[in-house]
């Protein structure tokens, strides 16, 4: 059956608008990439749009050797990997008991956790607590306060509650204790949700900005995000690219800025295509049940 004219127009509009949306998401990235790979003259003249002019890698070379991006990159990795593991562990330990109907005070505890989603002590009191624990300038200040995201915990809890009772009863008859039940039965069944939450925590830690800004003071402990921000907002890039001993100017502050941004995005772009299929499913599960 042929589509009516009205429906045809519908589809045309549909595809056109979506193409526009896709381009809007893609072009800024291409622009920054191009700026980071172009020669200084073109960058200064404002000629670069989405294609690099006179390809060169000098911006990246200068960044790698002249600043502490490599160190910060490594710091970000440590913060992300350790933090994500700790958070996943804590979230599972929180969601599992709360998903069992026979757990005492289950309703009360769930409510107490949900309450923290809508009211909290604020920036300064939290800062004071962390200070009193001696965690200033320590990565613990980044990991511990974020151990359990109430939101993520609820998603996991709902998922656990959805696991069929028969499976659990069957293993219980075989003499399974709670721990065995958790590790052998429940967790293997939770693949997509666990992957999604790992992704959320991981991305959150990699992108941490305000926390690191507040709690980390020494520059050799900074993560990549804060480092790049400081580079962008300070004069560091100007001095780097306009060194007096260079005969010819190899880079511009703009180009260096673009290269710094690209270094920050790169890991995300590399990991993203692989995880994309997981998180859509995971978010949908969470959205429907939540």
């Amino acid at each position: 059956m042929r589509e009516t004219i009205g429906n045809r127009i519908f589809y045309v509009c549909n595809y056109a608008l979506l193409t526009l949306a896709g381009l809007i998401c893609l072009l800024p990235l291409l622009n920054v990439l191009a700026l980071s790979l172009s020669e200084p003259a073109a960058v200064l003249a404002g000629k670069v749009t989405i294609i690099p002019i006179a390809l060169q890698l000098d911006s990246y070379a200068q960044l790698m050797t002249g600043t502490s991006v490599v160190r910060s990159f490594y710091n970000s990795l440590v913060i992300t990997l350790v933090g994500t593991c700790l958070c996943m562990l804590a979230t599972i330990l929180a969601a599992y008991p709360l998903s069992k109907r026979y757990f005492v005070a289950r309703k009360f505890l769930t409510l107490a956790i949900v309450f923290t989603m809508i009211f909290n002590g604020g920036l300064i009191p939290s800062y004071l607590v962390i200070k009193s624990l001696g965690l200033i300038n320590d990565y613990g200040a980044l990991w511990l306060p974020a151990l359990v995201s109430a939101y993520n915990m609820l998603i996991l809890k709902t998922f656990f509650e959805g696991i069929p009772e028969e499976l659990i009863d069957a293993s219980r008859m075989d003499g399974c204790g709670e721990l065995r039940l958790l590790t052998r039965i429940v967790l293997p069944l939770s693949g997509p949700v666990l992957a999604t939450l790992t992704l959320f925590y991981g991305v959150g830690f990699w992108n941490s900005f305000m926390n690191v800004l507040i709690y980390i003071n020494s520059s050799d402990k900074m993560n990549l995000t804060v480092m790049v921000q400081q580079m962008i907002s300070s004069q560091m890039l100007e001095t780097l690219s306009l060194r007096q001993d260079e005969v010819e100017q190899l880079t511009t502050p703009e180009g260096l800025k673009a290269a710094a941004i690209m270094i920050l995005i790169m890991p995300m772009l590399v990991v993203y295509p692989f995880v994309q299929r997981f998180f859509v499913k995971g978010v949908m599960i969470g959205a429907i049940k939540g």
Partner: protein
């Protein structure tokens, strides 16, 4: 109280036996919430005191509502509160149609490859942090070398300082927020759309309804509950605007409209050491957030769609 079970054990000891491993599992979590979520709430008292580093929380003298008086009598402070409210509400109102539109559009796509590519592109900005996006925005809209201004110059002949004029700054602020989150938020709406009974569409098609009609009469009402719940949830973020975005996009010129509560708290509190004053501001904004979310839930109850 201690009823006897068939096998001789008591109900009480059975409950204990069942719960012990669970309690052990939950114990570290309970400790976490107590230390890092509830203990700071106790620290809120310094809003009513004059906190001094030497005195600590308990030793500092009480000053009652002095801090609050100081806050609300200072015109700059009132400005900051106004900015926070205005920017947040604009963000919610202007921003909420876009994820819905995206979800509606994506839902109707028939070519799977197109859907996949578009989804990949559109979800991605959510995973970027504000240093990246802020940096990109500053680069894109820069007066001398920004791509936007180059195109603008070719079209109309002059360049415009987007980030240094109040209204254009607000537009860039809102636009970048939408750019980042619209795609990802669309996933939730997509999930809601797939939950709509396909039979409704079939019978509508049999009755000769066009695609536009179906969208208006079936899809939109079908996701109404989701829209309302998400709107309620977003009320909570009205006062807690989000530090990163403003911090990256702020500059001296637009400070009058761009300074908000989170950046104020960072500047005056962490950097300036004015603990009591900023805690008072924080307490105020948390309370407003709480009131907003409870009120919007009550309103939603009238439409039979509440969170609790």
């Amino acid at each position: 109280m201690n009823t006897q079970l068939k096998d001789g054990g008591s109900a009480l000891s059975k409950t204990l036996k069942q719960n012990l491993p669970l309690l052990l599992m939950f114990a570290p979590v309970a400790a976490y919430f107590l230390i890092f979520k509830y203990a700071p709430m106790v620290g809120l008292v310094i809003a009513f005191k004059q906190y001094g580093l030497a005195d600590g929380i308990w030793g500092s003298p009480w000053t009652g509502l002095d801090n609050f008086n100081l806050l609300f009598s200072n015109p700059q402070m009132v400005n900051i509160i106004r900015n926070t409210l205005v920017l947040s509400l604009l963000k919610i109102i202007v921003g909420f149609p876009f994820p819905i539109m995206l979800a509606l559009l994506l839902n109707e796509v028939k070519a799977l490859w197109f859907k996949r590519v578009t989804q990949t592109l559109v979800y991605m900005p959510h995973f970027l942090n504000w240093v990246i996006i802020g940096g990109m925005v500053i680069t894109l809209f820069s007066l001398e070398s920004g791509m936007i201004n180059q195109v603008l110059e070719q079209l109309v002949g002059y360049r415009y300082a987007f980030l240094y004029n109040e209204w254009s700054w607000i537009s860039v602020f809102l636009g970048s927020g939408i750019w980042k989150e619209a795609g990802f938020s669309a996933i939730i709406y997509l999930a809601a759309i797939t939950a709509i009974d396909p039979g409704l569409y079939e019978s509508a098609a049999l009755d000769g309804a066009s695609k536009w009609r179906m969208m208006w009469h079936i899809t939109l009402p079908g996701i109404r509950p989701t829209v309302i719940i998400l709107l309620i949830l977003s009320m909570e973020s009205v006062m807690d605007l989000g530090f990163d975005q403003i911090y990256m996009l702020q500059n001296r010129v637009v400070n009058n409209i761009a300074d908000v509560i989170p950046t104020y708290m960072y500047r005056m509190g962490i950097q300036g050491g004015q603990f009591s004053l900023t805690t008072a501001m924080g307490l105020f904004s948390s309370l407003v957030g709480l009131i907003l979310i409870v009120t919007s839930n009550q309103i939603a109850k009238k439409f039979n769609q509440s969170l609790w």
